[in-house]
Amino acid sequence: MLYAILCYHDEDTVGSWTKEQDAAVMTKLAVVQDKLTRQGRLGPVARLLPTTSATTLRKDDPPVVIDGPYAETKEQLLGFYVVDCKNLDEALDVARDLGAANPGGAYEIRPVGVLNPGSVLV
């Protein structure tokens, strides 16, 4: 079974780390990731840009684009995609296509800062 581990933290705290502090944390995390990679167990790892860079597509009819992160609590996180896009407009086009295939709910679109594609064998 593949498990997704979703990362939550106070982004102001993380955002205020100096370059050195940030690098130190990343180095420590890399040790854990490297072990999983060698075991062929690590899937994609992404570090997202702050929520200030987030945009939300409400999958209403017609879909509505809202600036900012997904803020409702009545829906739950059910999955995610990582898609290579030229810019936000292109990402929103992909989200609209996905939304047309599966209306209802919302997609939060966030630029990925760092991506480790992983090595998982399934």
Binding site: D12, S16, K19, D22, L49, P50, T51, T52, S53, T55, V65, I66, D67, G68, N87, L88, D89, P111, G113
Partner: protein, 423 residues
């Protein structure tokens, strides 16, 4: 750093949070400011002996509240018939004392403080000056420099503004959506000026003043969270991030200014650049351009260039052209002229800035840029006069040192650079 320098730096960076929180407790700007001043005086006595507190802002809020409450109690004893309202306010304040000082309110406190400084009865320039004084704690001289006016004029402007705000009702209710949006542009301009105060610091003080840049970025992010759909706030936040991303590369070990072309681009903060670029991308979708978005787009073109010669100066020239229309100012034209010198050569650039001489007669950068153009044209005697004037007008020793370095550099290779830089 001297004994008092670290205290000054700590007091400056704690100020918005502390004054904002004290204002929330006392609901009166004068009381809040006085409480903060008293707390600062105690800090100057206590901190050198006891060392800095773990959280200077929390310390100042606690001490400021205690001192102010003591003062109110004392005056209550002297005046046996206090106003009922004053007593109930005081009870609220004492109750609030029990709250944990976890800083969770401070962003709202700062925002309220910003909005109060931006009182609609005050002209925009007074609002900004007042906020820089009250929220950021900048000195009158620093504010005067940012506004390109004399110290005395600024002193008078701030005194008047304070008097008017003190006599006005302080709005503790959150303003309505329309009112908020109107004030937002003034608050945004002020946030940008706070940033510039930190950004324009010399190499000797850049580290001490960096909290100003960071505070401005924090304020911009806070505004962005509250106004998520405002492209200009996205632009402002992007602009500050893209500028601040270069902080580590802007000064050499000796504290001298390093030109953009000579900066070690590897030391630019890629995390800030990525966020800044994403925010511009987000803003552009709204098709509602504005001065911050244009300036952020210019900063983005610099950030995107892996090498100085990759810089798209033609696009930068066009963007400055757009900015001149949105926000006509001799300083914008001066900046555009730098791009023009790269695209069309120093002669065209010099022609462009000639008419600005009268309005920028006391502006350091005008003479620095003019001197550089003249040097590129081989008009060395005139260039020397301009550089001398620039050094006389320099605000920091780093600026003066930079002009001397600039002069040496252009002495070495004085052939026109514009022709080969354009693309």
């Amino acid at each position: 750093m001297t004994d008092t320098a670290w205290i000054d730096a700590a007091l400056t960076s704690a100020r918005p949070q502390a004054v904002g929180a004290l204002l929330r407790y006392f609901r009166n700007l004068d009381t809040a400011e006085e409480a903060f001043q008293n707390a600062c005086l105690r800090a100057l006595k206590s901190w050198p002996q006891n060392g800095p507190p773990r959280d200077p802002a929390a310390w100042l809020i606690m001490v400021g509240r205690n001192v102010a409450i003591d003062d109110i109690r004392r005056s209550r004893k002297q005046q046996p018939l206090p106003e009922d309202e004053a007593i109930s306010d005081l009870d609220d304040a004492e109750e609030a004392l029990a709250e944990r000082l976890d800083g969770s309110h401070y962003r709202d406190d700062i925002l309220r403080l910003l909005f109060i400084c931006c009182h609609p009865d005050l002209p925009a320039t007074q609002q900004i000056a007042l906020a820089l004084r009250i929220v950021s704690g900048l000195t009158v001289k620093q504010i005067a420099r940012a506004f390109l006016v004399g110290d005395a004029a600024m002193e008078q402007r701030i005194t008047r503004a304070k008097a008017r705000v003190a006599n006005a009702d302080v709005p503790f209710e959150t303003p309505g959506a329309v009112e908020r949006t109107e004030r937002l542009s003034v608050v945004a301009a002020m946030v940008y000026l706070i940033f510039n105060e930190g950004y324009s610091a010399g190499g000797d003080t850049a580290a001490i003043r960096a909290p100003l840049c960071e505070e401005a970025i924090r304020l911009a992010r806070l505004l962005l969270r509250l106004f998520q759909g405002e492209p200009e706030i996205m632009g402002l936040t992007a602009l500050l991030l893209l500028q601040h991303a270069r902080a580590a590369a802007r000064f050499d070990a000796a504290g001298a200014l390093v030109l953009l072309d000579d900066q070690d681009r590897a030391s630019w903060n890629q995390k800030m650049i990525a966020e800044g670029l994403a925010l511009i991308d987000k803003a552009m979708r709204h098709r509602r351009s504005g001065p911050y978005q244009v300036q952020a787009a210019i900063a983005a073109l610099h950030a995107r260039a892996a090498k100085p010669e990759d810089t798209d100066w033609t696009q930068i020239d066009l963007l400055y052209g757009a900015l001149e229309i949105m926000q006509p100012s001799p300083v914008v034209t001066l900046n555009r002229a730098v791009a023009v010198s790269k695209v069309r050569g120093p002669e065209a650039a010099l022609e462009m800035i000639e008419p600005l001489g009268e309005r920028l007669s006391n502006y350091f950068h005008f003479f620095g840029v003019r001197g550089a153009f003249l040097m590129q044209l081989g008009r060395n005697d005139e260039a020397r006069v301009a550089f001398d004037r620039a050094i006389a007008l320099a605000n920091t020793s780093a600026e003066a040192a930079h002009i001397r370095m600039h002069l040496d550099r252009l002495m070495r290779d004085s052939q026109p650079r514009g022709a080969k830089a354009g693309k």
